[in-house]
C-alpha cells in the first residue's frame, strides 16, 4: 500500500491545481469556504464551472488507464492499449454515427457497441485457425482499423449541420468542455462496476501472463478468459470515450507510468496503478489545454496528443532496440 502514496498525492495535487486554475483563478481559501458553506464563488467553481469537468476527467482517465494496463498485460506488449488497438476510435465512430443518423441511444451505449464491434472486427481479421496470431499483427490490424474508423467519422461529419459538426469535431479530438455532473456520475458509476469486474479477473490475468500452457495448468481456460478480459477492457475504454471522446494516448501511457510510480507488480496492483496514472494524465492534460494559450480553450486531446506522441515514438524505438519490433 505504501507504494501508492506518491501517486495518490500527485492525483490530489493535480486535482487541486485543476480546480484552482482557469480563466478566473481561485484561491484555496475561496474553494474551501465554497466546499464548506456551499455558497460564494468557490461553490460556483466546484459545483458548476470546474468541479464536474475535473471529476469527469478523473473518471475517464481512470477507466482508460485501467483498460490500457489490462490490455498491456493481456497481450504482454506495452503498445497494446485500446487507443492504439483502435477500440477508442470505434467507440468514437459509433457516437458520431449516432448523432449523424439520429439514433436515440445514450452515448455510453453507443460507445460500448462501437468498441465491442471494433474488437470483433479486429479479432475476426486477426483470427487464424488454432490461434497464435502474433501480438504485433493484432496491433497493426488495430492501428489500421482505428484509422479507418477515424476516417469514416470525419466523413460522417461532413453530412452534419455546421454547428453540430464543429461540436462533434471538438469531441472527436477528446474534449472535457461543458461536462456536467451527469457525465461525471455516468463515468464514475459505470467505471466502478467495470473496474470491480476487471479486478475480479486479476488472478486469471496473472495466470495468463505466464503463457497459455502454464495458465491452463493453473486451471484456467486461456481462450475463453482472453475473450472475457478483452470485453471488460473494451467496455472500460468505451465508458471513458463516452464522456471524454477518444482522447489519444492516455491508455497507452497510463500502465507503464502507474507501474513506475507505484512499483506494483501484481495484476490487480498494475490495473489500479494504471487507473490512477490515467486519471492523473487526463486531469493534467485538460488543465494544460485550458491554460496553455490564454483566451483559447483547447480540447484535452490536443494536450494528451502532445504528451503521448513523443512517448509512443520513444516506446517504438525502445521496442526496436530490444528486437521486439
Amino acid at each position: 500500500m505504501k507504494g501508492y502514496v506518491p501517486l495518490s498525492l500527485l492525483i490530489f495535487l493535480a486535482t487541486s491545481a485543476a480546480l484552482l486554475t482557469g480563466q478566473v483563478d481561485a484561491s484555496p481559501g475561496v474553494l474551501w469556504s465554497g466546499l464548506v458553506t456551499g455558497e460564494g464563488p468557490g461553490a460556483l467553481i466546484l459545483d458548476t464551472i470546474r468541479g464536474p469537468r475535473v471529476a469527469t476527467a478523473l473518471g475517464a482517465g481512470a477507466v482508460l488507464g485501467m483498460s490500457g494496463a489490462l490490455f498491456q498485460m493481456l497481450f504482454r506488449n506495452p503498445l497494446a492499449s485500446p487507443d492504439i488497438l483502435g477500440f477508442n476510435a470505434g467507440a468514437g465512430l459509433a457516437i458520431i454515427a449516432g448523432i449523424a443518423f439520429g439514433i436515440a441511444m445514450p452515448t455510453a451505449v453507443m460507445a460500448a457497441l462501437g468498441g465491442v464491434a471494433m474488437a470483433l472486427v479486429i479479432g475476426g481479421l486477426a483470427f487464424r485457425g488454432g490461434g497464435g496470431t502474433p501480438v504485433l499483427t493484432i496491433i497493426l490490424i488495430g492501428i489500421g482499423a482505428g484509422f479507418t474508423a477515424t476516417a469514416v467519422s470525419t466523413f460522417l461529419m461532413t453530412i452534419l449541420p455546421g454547428t453540430t459538426a464543429s461540436e462533434a469535431q471538438r469531441w472527436l479530438t477528446g474534449s472535457l468542455a461543458a461536462r456536467d455532473w451527469s457525465h461525471a456520475a455516468q463515468v464514475l458509476g459505470i467505471g466502478a462496476m467495470l473496474a470491480s469486474l476487471a479486478l475480479g479477473q486479476a488472478r486469471i490475468l496473472s495466470a495468463l501472463e505466464l503463457g497459455d500452457g502454464l495458465a491452463a495448468g493453473l486451471g484456467q481456460r486461456p481462450e475463453a478468459a482472453r475473450w472475457w478480459l478483452s470485453a471488460t477492457g473494451v467496455l472500460l475504454a468505451a465508458t471513458g470515450v463516452a464522456v471524454a471522446g477518444p482522447v489519444p494516448f492516455v491508455a497507452l501511457m497510463a500502465g507503464p507510468l502507474g507501474m513506475r510510480l507505484t512499483g506494483a507488480l501484481t495484476s490487480a496492483g498494475r490495473m489500479v496503478s494504471g487507473a490512477g496514472a490515467g486519471a492523473l494524465v487526463l486531469v493534467l492534460s485538460d488543465l494544460l489545454a485550458r491554460v496553455a494559450v490564454p483566451g483559447l480553450q483547447l480540447p484535452a486531446g490536443v494536450a494528451t496528443g502532445l504528451l503521448g506522441a513523443p512517448y509512443l515514438l520513444w516506446r517504438l524505438s525502445r521496442e526496436m532496440e530490444r528486437g521486439d519490433l
Binding site: S206, L214, M259, T266
Partner: protein, 266 residues
C-alpha cells in the same frame, strides 16, 4: 495414477502418437525419452490436457481428464512447459504465489495454507533467500528453480515437466533432477518429465518410457529399457550399455558408426 487408453494425437491431421496405452506409476519418478520428433513432448502436453486427443483418452485415477473441471484438475496435476516467459520485473515471491491460483476462490483472502505452501516450495528449491529478487537478475539455474517453486506451490499429487533441463549446463541439469527426485522421495509426488539425456534420465528416474515414432518401444526400470536392442530400434544407434561407474545405473556408450553419417550422402 495417470494412464492413456488407445490415445492418438495429431497436429493438423498429421498423426504424432497412435493408439498408445501407457500407465505412469504413482509416486515414482518417470522420464519419457526418445529421439527428436518421437512425440514425447506432444504426449506430455496431452497428459496435461494442453492438447485434446484425436481419439482415445487420458485418465487420472480412472477419470477422463477432459471431463474434470479445470480448477479441480489443476489441484491434482501441475505442468511446467518447456518455454517459459515471465512478465517484466516479476520477483520470485510473486512467481511462486501464482502457483496458488488453483487453490484460491473468488475474493478469498491469501491464507495460512497458501503462505505455508509458498514457503515450503521456495525451501524445497533452495530459493528462500531469493524471494525478493527479480527473476531477470538470476542465473539460468536459479531461474529454473524459481519456476519449479511455482509448480511445487501448486501442491499437486502429480507433476509433469517438459524438458526441465534444457538450456542448463550439466551441473544445473543434475541439480534440477536431484531436486525433483528429492521432492518425490519426501512428498511422494508423482513426477513425469520429458528428458533428452539418456544417462541422466537413467540415473535420476525410477522408471523410463522410451518412445519412437509415436509408439512405446519399452517402459520399465532403466535397466530394462536402456538395452542395446532398444537403443538400436528407437534411435538407430549402435551402443554398448555398461553400469555407470558412480551409481551403477545403466550408461549408454555409443559405438563409432562404421561409416560416418555425414559422408553417407556424398
Amino acid at each position: 495414477m495417470l494412464r492413456t487408453e488407445a490415445l492418438s494425437l495429431s497436429y493438423d491431421d498429421v498423426p504424432v502418437i497412435s493408439d498408445l496405452d501407457l500407465e505412469l506409476p504413482c509416486g515414482r519418478v518417470t522420464a519419457i525419452i526418445g529421439p527428436n520428433g518421437c512425440g514425447k513432448s506432444t504426449l506430455l502436453r496431452a497428459l496435461a490436457r494442453l492438447m485434446p486427443p484425436a481419439s482415445g483418452r487420458v485418465t487420472l485415477n480412472g477419470e477422463d481428464i477432459n471431463r474434470i473441471p479445470p480448477k479441480r484438475l489443476a489441484r491434482q496435476l501441475a505442468i511446467l512447459p518447456q518455454t517459459l516467459r515471465a512478465p517484466d520485473g516479476i520477483r520470485v515471491s510473486d512467481l511462486v504465489m501464482r502457483g496458488r491460483i488453483p487453490w484460491r476462490t473468488f475474493l478469498s483472502p491469501w491464507n495460512e495454507a497458501d503462505k505455508t505452501a509458498c514457503e515450503a516450495a521456495l525451501e524445497a528449491v533452495g530459493m528462500t533467500g531469493f524471494a525478493d529478487r527479480e527473476l531477470s537478475e538470476l542465473s539460468g539455474g536459479q531461474r529454473q528453480r524459481a519456476w519449479l517453486s511455482l509448480v511445487l506451490a501448486q501442491q499437486t499429487p502429480c507433476l509433469l515437466l517438459d524438458e526441465p533441463t534444457t538450456y542448463l549446463d550439466l551441473t544445473h541439469q543434475m541439480d534440477v533432477l536431484a531436486l525433483l527426485r528429492r521432492q518425490n522421495r519426501q512428498s511422494g509426488q508423482t513426477i513425469v518429465s520429458v528428458l533428452h539425456d539418456l544417462n541422466l534420465a537413467a540415473r535420476y528416474s525410477d522408471n523410463l518410457v522410451l518412445l519412437a515414432n509415436g509408439q512405446v518401444v519399452a517402459s520399465g526400470a532403466p535397466e530394462q529399457v536402456l538395452t542395446p536392442d532398444n537403443l538400436l530400434s528407437a534411435f538407430d544407434l549402435e551402443a554398448r550399455v555398461i553400469p555407470d561407474p558412480v551409481t551403477g545405473t545403466p550408461m549408454v556408450v555409443p559405438l563409432e558408426p562404421a561409416e560416418p553419417v555425414l559422408s553417407a550422402g556424398v
